[in-house]
């Protein structure tokens, strides 16, 4: 079986001033995998993920996406293919609809309400949520809506940065099953987590300590 690499990171470093945050990281990530990125706080996990999401650029080394340097892609097109979800997302505008319209605006497409309602169902939110004020949704609902923004137009890679931190078990389970379903459809997922149960259940792990990869998938 031919293994297709989606990311190929070679000798990548990231430095801010004199501080080396990532030190000569080399790692390969296969297409379609669900990888859990672990390591102590401040070890450089989020920085590494942000480089892969093209939110920042490395100071040296190479990061290839499908064989080409990330920096060679047009940034907005790249970020539509490699999407990044934040730990504490903010909801845009006034209503949930404003948030779910956003991915359509990004792609200059007409808002497809039927499609959005289907996606809302997938995360256990009924269609009445569309016109709910962003101030009236709970933390867990907020995170689910934010993830839908990433997934309404499914990317090729989803990077999640502790998106289940602070969520209750029910919300965590909804997020897990949604991500699992997308992964089964072919989405590559890179998940940063500190959650013991998530780490325990993970098959493929990358551990980062002091800016270095200490184990590889």
């Amino acid at each position: 079986m031919i293994v297709e690499k989606i990311f190929d990171v070679q000798d990548l470093s990231y430095q801010v001033g004199d501080k080396e945050i990532l030190k000569h990281i080399s790692v390969e990530i296969e297409k379609g995998k669900y990888i859990t990125v672990v390591g102590p706080s401040g070890s450089g996990k989020s920085t590494f993920m942000r480089i892969l999401a093209s939110m920042i650029s490395q100071t040296s080394g190479k990061a290839l996406f499908e064989g080409k340097p990330i920096d060679s892609y047009e940034p907005t097109e790249y970020r539509q293919r490699v999407s990044y979800a934040f730990q504490q997302p903010t909801l845009f505008g006034k209503t949930v609809r404003d948030n779910l319209t956003f991915p359509f605006e990004v792609r200059n497409k007409e808002f497809d309400e039927a499609k959005v309602k289907q996606y809302l169902k997938m995360v256990n939110l009924d269609e009445s949520y569309l016109d709910k004020s962003v101030n009236d949704v709970s933390g867990g609902e907020k995170q689910r809506i934010a993830l839908l923004r990433n997934l309404i137009f499914p990317p090729e890679v989803l990077i999640t940065d502790e998106v289940t931190a602070g969520l209750d078990v029910e919300n965590k389970n909804i997020v897990h099953s949604m991500l699992k379903e997308f992964n089964q459809r072919g989405l590559t997922i890179l998940r940063v987590t500190h959650d013991e149960s998530e780490i325990e259940a993970a098959h493929d792990k990358i551990t980062i300590k002091n800016g270095e990869v200490v184990n590889n998938v």
Binding site: M55, R79, F86, P89, F102, V106, A146
Partner: protein
């Protein structure tokens, strides 16, 4: 014109008003006596020079000299507006373009419609009024932009991460900043005549012009300031927001406090 009785001796007597400010500063221990004296001396010297320069320019009535005054005012206003950019890269260049275009369009329209004549005694003061208003508007735009980019940087990052272009990611900030530049002009228009009798109108009435004629000039000034501040705000904001991103459409951390 006979009512204009200001002279060197009346000005000297008027200096007593500066002493009032100095005494208040002293009693309240505000430590602003040095600033007041420097400010007053600068104002006297600057205005005296400008007075003689204007006298010369008006007497010469030369098109090139008038244009030179226009350029000097525009560059000076741009320099000051750029300083208010406070770390925003290329703030001077953006301000220069905004003030030049805003002043040229507004002034051109006024001359073309016959509201003012292309003579130095009208072009130079009107240029000053337009450029200084755009300068203030740009200063407000920059301040608002820096503040909101800092306050809402998380939201911008999220929009970028969803694949939005920098304009879509900053659209709210862009709109708020343009509005913040135009708002003082809009607010002052609402109270015209009710709270303030603005400079142009007061000056004409002072000089003995019929108040009904004076308000026509003031209405023209109102139109002119509305147009110029909106043109200046739009141009400076559209050029300014791009400076918060690098070539890779990533948010520049160093500009966000």
């Amino acid at each position: 014109m006979s009512n204009l009785t200001v002279s060197n001796s009346t000005l000297m007597l008027g200096f007593v008003l500066v002493i009032v400010a100095l005494v208040i500063g002293y009693i309240e221990k505000l430590h602003i006596d040095k600033d007041i004296i420097i400010g007053v001396v600068r104002a006297i010297i600057q205005l005296s020079i400008v007075g003689y320069v204007l006298k010369f320019v008006i007497k010469a009535d030369d098109i090139w000299l008038t244009l030179a005054c226009f350029i000097i005012i525009v560059i000076n206003a741009s320099y000051n507006a750029g300083k208010r950019g406070n770390g925003i890269p290329k703030a001077f260049q953006s301000s220069l373009l905004a003030i030049f275009v805003g002043t040229t369009i507004t002034l051109g329209t006024l001359v073309f419609t016959g509201s003012i004549k292309f003579v130095p005694e009208q072009i130079v003061p009107v240029t000053g009024m337009i450029a200084s208003n755009i300068m203030v508007a740009i200063g407000l735009c920059y301040r608002n932009m820096k503040q909101t980019f800092s306050d809402r940087h998380q939201q911008i990052l999220e929009k970028l991460a969803l694949g939005a272009d920098i304009k879509l990611a900053s659209l709210d900030i862009l709109r708020d900043s343009i509005k913040s530049g135009m708002q003082p002009t809009i607010d002052s228009i609402k109270t015209l005549g009710l709270v303030s009798l603005p400079g142009m109108m007061s000056g004409l009435i002072f000089a003995g012009v019929d108040p009904v004629k004076a308000i026509k000039y003031q209405i023209m000034v109102t139109f002119m300031l509305l147009a110029s501040t909106s043109i200046g705000s739009i141009i400076s904001c559209y050029l300014g927001y791009r400076q918060f991103f690098n070539d890779r459409k990533q948010l520049k951390n160093e500009l966000i406090s």
